[in-house]
């Protein structure tokens, strides 16, 4: 183990030779780089080529001018992990951050897969920093070890006498120092990576982790130079638009393309299994021609005839049917047995409509298919899934696919499905055209062919003892299947457990000994996907509105009741702290005239979050959120200001899901079309947002979506405090508010 020196220096070494070396998990290799560090070119595959071995994990290249290139395997969709991952590695290798260049590697699960996703190169689930954290610290420590060891040998001193300062090896006894760039010029790299033990996270001294650095992608996003796939220009490129099947599995049967072909600039009509494509010289011509197509669809698809109403009726019946096929998601103790001993049984049913991602960049992709293979430009949450899907669609080897990962104009779960249909589109269209093609979905395409957060009916049953303590908990979740549709590969390995639909039913922090959560996912034929906060968005809503109902039945204050249920649990302390802090910030005990306060708490994959909403209600049933307080503890905060930004973001996202966002399915097809009938939050809808980040010395956990589920819950609970009326369905639409109030015989003050 190496002692870290915290003394700072700011000297800049002169550039000499052009040698570099690379470090990986299995070994270290040593090469000679020629020319200036043209890192973008270097990133495109030279790293792998220079070592001649794919068994190495390649993360770091040190150039003799002191530049440190660090690979960042994350897709950047605004969440900041493109920057956060290299901060972790740079911290442990003691790099000078001003000399770090962040490089996107060639896609590879083997080299760059996220340990949290069984080594799939997949950016999702707020799992990037948490998943890569340990291995990046390990790689960083190995790099630092090799650099310091080389310096020690050059000076002829014991390694133990050499320490690092940012970008330097220092021999304190003699005052000698060598920059990392100088060391790179003579460094010998062992064939086997050294065994290096990093300090446990609770004791580590961080130099970069915990400081705020500007995200590398931000500068390009204020002057229009940021490159998303929709911006890609390839010589000879034409444009594609696709009229897709209105329902998954409904193939085109009759195609009348006469009007489409008559549009100036249209080059080709491309019949596809799942729709009809148009290729044109200009996107506007492609859109008009798509609009002019007349297509008859086969009626074989499962989804025909389906609607939200039908879904609710079916799901509610399944939820109540003890014989319905279910898959256990969380089993702790003996919930059915304990239920029999309860003094009181409480039951509740909660619902949620389909919801749409509405990422600002409509789906699109650019492909150039040639005899040699296919080059793709796209923003995907998984670079490797994209390569595999395109290779399969074209029937060529994966080595023939070159993937250029672009910035994502929002992901939110929409761009990580195993079939990446929006990328395959461009490959099929380019093959048909014999030219590079940019396929662009219109916003209407993006809505009509959306893949949604599923429709839900949740039933919770709890057994309460005579002291008001919850002793047994049984949660049944009926929803459309998600994982089976969005990722059959992961679904197979999950053995029927639908991670996307079921997450959030587990209750690791409340002191409830007997718990059972069951999934009853249904194949309705509706397209589904993970959507920011996945199942947690609804399952936590059900949990936390239910807890509020129990507290109200017992006549206990909802904050106090939650703290009581946390009191006996080992993990309860961190949880209690975020709730207490949120209550303090919101001045929870103070009654407001015409306003209600509501609380929600959540353990989201280890991150502790609590939120409190202050709301009022207008006569037309509209809920106004005035303030939202949120406290988040996600362990070590790698980039604190970015965690705040992500929390702001996830609150705003939750606000839309809470109040306005709903997709209606009518005869299997999507009713909404664009932002005029799918309402996302605008600036005028914003509450005042107050966030406190609690930094603790725990392994870092997720930050990208943790507050989203709190928002509908806290609002519904606040509405109850204000009116005494419970809302149990997302979104909390004005008509639903009015109906619930009418049923309860309550009038708006």
């Amino acid at each position: 183990m190496i002692i870290r020196n915290q003394r700072k220096v700011s000297a800049t070494p002169a550039s000499t030779g052009r040698r570099r070396f690379m470090v990986g998990a299995a070994g270290l290799t040593f090469g000679v780089a020629v020319g200036a560090p043209a890192l973008q070119l270097f990133a495109a595959g030279e790293a792998a080529a220079a070592t001649g071995s794919v068994k190495l994990n390649h993360w770091v290249t040190v150039f003799t001018d002191g530049t440190v290139a660090i690979m960042s395997p994350a897709a950047e969709m605004g969440q900041g992990s493109l920057t956060a991952l290299p901060v972790i590695l740079a911290d442990e290798m003691d790099a000078d951050w001003t000399k770090v260049r962040i490089v996107a590697p060639t896609p590879s699960d083997k080299l760059y897969g996220n340990p949290a996703f069984r080594y799939l190169q997949y950016t999702a689930g707020s799992a990037t920093v948490t998943g890569y954290f340990n291995s990046l610290r390990q790689f960083g420590a190995q790099v630092r070890y090799v650099l310091l060891d080389n310096a020690a040998q050059r000076w002829g001193v014991p390694l133990a006498e050499v320490v690092s300062e940012p970008g330097y090896a220092v021999h304190q006894k003699s005052g000698r120092r060598l920059s990392y760039g100088e060391i790179a010029a003579f460094a010998k790299v062992p064939a086997q990576a050294p065994e290096v033990v990093v300090d446990p996270v609770a004791k580590a001294q961080f130099r970069l982790i915990g400081r705020d650095f500007p995200r590398v992608d931000v500068a390009s996003k204020v002057n229009g130079s940021a490159q998303y796939s929709i911006d890609v220009q390839v010589p000879g490129m034409v444009y594609g638009a696709i009229l897709r099947e209105p329902i998954e599995g409904a193939a085109p049967e009759q195609i009348d393309d006469r009007a489409a072909r008559a549009i100036d600039g249209v080059l080709q009509i491309v019949p596809l299994k799942y729709g009809v494509g148009v290729i044109a010289r200009h996107p506007w011509a492609a859109f008009k021609a798509k609009q002019a197509l007349k297509v008859g669809w086969s009626r074989k698809a499962t989804g025909w005839g389906y609607s939200n109403e039908r879904g609710y009726a079916q799901f509610a019946a399944v939820a109540k049917d003890p014989k319905a096929n279910s898959v256990a998601w969380e089993t702790e103790g003996d919930a059915p047995g304990a239920m029999l001993k309860a003094a009181t049984i409480v039951e509740g049913e909660y619902r949620a409509d389909y919801a749409y991602h509405a990422q600002m960049e409509p789906l699109n992709s650019v492909a150039a298919v040639t005899a040699e293979g296919c080059e793709i430009w796209c923003g995907s949450q998984s670079q490797t899934i994209a390569v595999t899907a395109v290779a399969q669609a074209l029937g060529v080897a994966e080595e023939k696919i070159k993937f250029n990962g672009m910035l994502l104009g929002g992901g939110f779960g929409r761009r990580g499905n195993r079939d990446v249909e929006f990328i395959v589109d461009s490959a099929l269209m380019s093959r048909a055209a014999g030219k590079p093609v940019k396929v662009i979905w219109t916003r209407e395409d993006d809505v009509h062919n959306g893949r949604f957060r599923p429709l839900y009916v949740n039933r919770i049953r709890a057994g309460i003892d005579s002291n008001g303590k919850i002793m047994a908990w049984h949660h049944r979740v009926v929803s459309d299947r998600v994982l089976a549709f969005m990722d059959p590969v992961r679904y197979k390995s999950a053995k029927g457990r639908d991670n996307i639909a079921m997450r959030g039913t587990e209750l690791p922090t409340y002191d409830i000994s007997h718990r059972l959560a069951e999934g009853l996912q249904q194949d309705t034929g509706i397209r589904t996907a993970p959507l920011r906060a996945i199942g947690v968005g609804q399952n936590s809503f059900a949990n936390e509105v239910f807890i509020d109902e129990v507290a109200a039945k017992l006549g206990v204050d909802p904050v106090r009741y939650r703290l009581q249920q946390l009191a006996g649990s080992a993990k309860g302390k961190r949880a209690a702290h975020v709730i207490e802090e949120a209550a303090r910030m919101a001045d929870w005990g103070r009654k407001r005239q015409g306003r209600g306060l509501g609380v929600a708490y959540l353990d989201y994959s280890g991150t502790q979050v609590a939120g409190i909403a202050e709301v009022s209600l207008s006569r037309d049933g509209r809920i106004r959120v005035h303030d939202f307080w949120c406290v988040i503890d996600c362990g070590v905060a790698v980039q604190p200001d970015n965690i705040i930004a992500q929390t702001e973001s996830s609150i705003v996202y939750g606000l839309g899901l809470a109040l306005t966002e709903r997709i209606d399915i009518v005869d299997g097809a999507v009713k909404q079309s664009n932002f005029y009938d799918y309402h996302v939050p605008r600036m005028r809808d914003m509450p005042a947002i107050h966030i406190k980040l609690v930094q603790t010395r725990n392994h870092p956990t997720g930050a990208g979506q943790m507050a989203t589920p709190l928002v509908p819950t806290a609002i519904a609970n606040a509405l109850f405090q204000l009116t005494g009326v419970r809302l149990r369905q997302q979104p909390l639409l004005p008509e639903r508010v009015l109906q619930a109030m009418a049923e309860a015989g309550v009038r708006i003050a």
Partner: protein
């Protein structure tokens, strides 16, 4: 059907001549004919503001203006707001680390530039009202407000 027309207009101070279908939205002319891709396509129906540019000095959604209606007009896009990212709004956007996915931000900045031209010292309510046509799905609204206030302060001093 809708044969091409040729139209001259001024974009970021330079005279440009475009030949395209007369109903082609200015948005697509800017993006694909002139390769000025900082102006973004979000909805195509004037609902999101991602395509906001200045037309004769006024912020407007470029998806709503057909090529045939912009002949002879002056267009400023995000690329023309400053030559070197030096506009006070751009500097404020960096200082506040506003962008997340960033896709809507060109439109947000162009709209904010219109606000500050008209109201150099806007109140918070004026900012909120003026900026509400522009959607940010990442929810960077808190920081957009802060950045506009910061830029307004800078432009005064």
């Amino acid at each position: 059907m809708s044969k091409s027309i040729t139209v001259a207009l001024t974009v970021n101070g330079a005279r440009r001549t475009i030949t395209a279908a007369p109903d082609t939205p200015l948005l697509w002319v800017l993006r694909e004919d002139l390769k000025l891709t900082g102006t973004k396509f979000g909805c195509g129906v004037g609902q999101c503001g991602a395509c906001t540019v200045h037309l004769n000095g006024e912020p407007t959604q470029s998806c709503l203006h057909a090529l045939q209606d912009v002949a002879g007009k002056q267009v400023t896009t995000i690329e023309g707001l400053s030559p070197d990212t030096s506009h006070p709004l751009q500097k404020a956007w960096l200082a506040e680390q506003v962008p997340q996915c960033g896709y809507c931000q060109s439109g947000q900045i162009m709209r904010a530039a219109g606000l500050l031209k008209q109201t150099p010292r806007p109140t918070r309510d004026e900012i909120v009202e003026y900026m509400s046509p522009n959607i940010c799905r990442c929810g960077t609204y808190v920081r957009i407000v802060r950045a506009i206030e910061r830029a307004a302060g800078e432009m005064q001093s």
